[in-house]
């Protein structure tokens, strides 16, 4: 007599649509998965649901106007995008900004990095069922957004930089507010690590999941924390410093296994290093102006002058009117920056007009996401949210 269980069960392949609207897809992405039982045998990511032609739009907006578009790309760390674009435009026009501008940019970028990483870890945790870490992370992220609101006026669409400077200086007492939030972040990072690091469920769900080898990471163009979790010792802030990053003393977080757990560890360590950079930046903050010499004809006058004096208004029009304004030289500039997701670069080509000839964004989300179908193969369906979460796909930047 043969028992039923000894007979080989036959299974058909099942096609499963994951997304575009699924709570753990972090935006509108769709993955068509072929399942055998619960194992994913093939995954085809489909993107483009949020494609809004930002690059085409860039050909029609002048250099300062396009900064508002860069906010909308990576909506979790818009300030990093603002800074990256301003750096590319400044390199194209060969402008030098003041030391104070650079330090404030560093401070803002690092605060964005903290907000992004803490939220990313929180989202990864909530996708895997750990609600507490998510709430802790979200709380400090809100506090950091309050800081952005104090400095820039808004939480998300900051548009804080201008070509050749900043929209405005940081207000008085900002450093105290930052230090208060940083202490809170430090506490929350410790709390999250206490909750997760030695948690057996967390370890089972993240260790040995979605392993990227060093060779694959280079071949697939992976950058940022994902590459560093695979053992690639490359941080643009250290290796090709921009915006005075060479003045700061911090360590680069590296892990060797390249799985979801290591990516989580790298992100948490980067938050700690970012706290260090923020404190140094506040300590060493130089005094001075945050905009370049107005006689060069590049920067906008302060809003106070524009609204309250006729000269200011005329000068404002001189910069913004279609037949006037800044005239960059003919040329091109590609400036790589270390955004929370990886290498974010703007490639601006100018033909000498007031609008760029072409603006290309090097989107870390798109390039990091392209390895996904390779990572998920052979894993269980329930590992998909873990891998997507650890890649930190941001749909606005993915599709542009």
């Amino acid at each position: 007599m043969t028992r039923v269980t000894e007979k080989q069960l036959e299974t058909d392949r099942m096609i499963l649509n994951f997304g575009p609207h699924h709570p753990s897809t972090h935006g509108t992405l769709r993955i068509i998965m072929e399942l055998e039982g619960e194992t994913v045998t093939k995954a085809t990511p489909e993107i483009g649901y949020l494609h809004s032609g930002f690059e085409k739009l860039g050909e029609d907006l002048d250099f300062n106007q396009y900064i508002t578009i860069t906010d909308r790309m990576n909506y979790l760390s818009p300030l990093c995008n603002n800074v990256a674009y301003a750096l590319a435009a400044e390199k194209l026009m060969e402008l030098e900004v003041s030391k104070r501008t650079e330090y404030i940019r560093v401070l803002m970028c690092e605060l964005s990095r903290i907000a992004d990483h803490v939220l990313n870890v929180g989202m990864l945790a909530v996708d895997l069922g750990a609600m507490t870490a998510f709430l802790y992370g979200f709380r400090v992220r809100e506090n950091i957004y309050d800081l952005f609101e104090i400095a820039t006026g808004t939480r998300l669409t900051t548009s804080y930089t201008l070509v050749g400077g900043l929209m405005r200086d940081i207000p008085e007492g900002f450093d105290k507010a930052v230090l208060k939030v940083l202490d809170e972040v430090d506490e929350v990072v410790n709390d999250i690590e206490t909750l997760l690091n030695k948690n057996r469920i967390w370890q089972n769900r993240t260790k040995n999941i979605g392993i990227i080898s060093k060779e694959n990471a280079i071949s697939y163009g992976i950058s940022g924390p994902m590459a560093r979790a695979s053992g690639i010792d490359w941080d643009i802030r250290v290796n090709e410093p921009y915006s005075s990053y060479e003045d700061f003393d911090f360590d680069v977080a590296i892990a060797l296994n390249g799985d979801v757990f290591d990516r989580y560890l790298v992100r948490m360590e980067e938050v700690r290093q970012s706290i260090k950079i923020c404190k140094q930046s506040l300590d060493k903050m130089p005094t001075g102006d945050v905009s370049i010499d107005p006689d060069l004809g590049f920067n906008l006058p302060p809003k106070d002058e524009v609204y309250n004096s006729i000269e200011g208004l005329i000068y404002h029009f001189e910069v913004t009117m279609p037949n006037r304004g800044m005239t960059p030289p003919v040329g091109e500039a590609y400036v790589p920056t270390e955004s929370p997701n990886g290498e974010l670069a703007f490639y601006i080509i100018s033909d000498g007009n007031r609008t760029p000839y072409r603006v290309r964004t090097r989107p870390p989300s798109l390039i990091n996401y392209s390895i996904f179908s390779k990572l998920i193969e052979g894993h269980m369906l329930s590992d998909a949210p873990a891998i997507i979460g650890s890649i930190n796909v941001i749909a606005g930047e993915l599709d542009r």
Partner: protein, 171 residues
Amino acid sequence: MSLEKTLSQIKGSFSDYVLGLTEYAGEQIIHIKGQGVIDVLKTFKDAGFNFLADLTAIDNLTLGGFERFAVVYHLLSHGSAERVTIKAYVPEDNPVLPSIESLWKTADWQEREVFDLFGIEFEGHPNLTRIMNPDDYEGHPLRKDYPRLGRKERYDFPVIDRGIQKQKRTE
């Protein structure tokens, strides 16, 4: 190997492909013909430029250049922290060049994006389909002769007549 050495090596061994060398704001740009892209990029890869940072294209319609389209490769060397830009030119009537997916897997999606938005084809690409736009989309949006207002598509939408609308439109 340093960048200058590699550049002179490429200039020596692939003189048929190399169109010129330029420099802007400290960045080296090498201009080559489209068909030589695999040979040149392989030489760079062997010389330590192990990381393809970015792959994109430019439509030179009004900018001027050797040909209508330029496919741009940004390479990075993790060893020496140097970057180099390679521009491969393809003509308007036959915008085809070899795919470098065999050298770097990251080229897969980025070449699809260039194909989608510029209509440049890559020979030997495993899956050359549109990535940003729907598969039945017509035209290539980032070409300079593509209208920025999207007039054509909007006016081609089928209009459902509901009587009143028709009356209004004829007025």
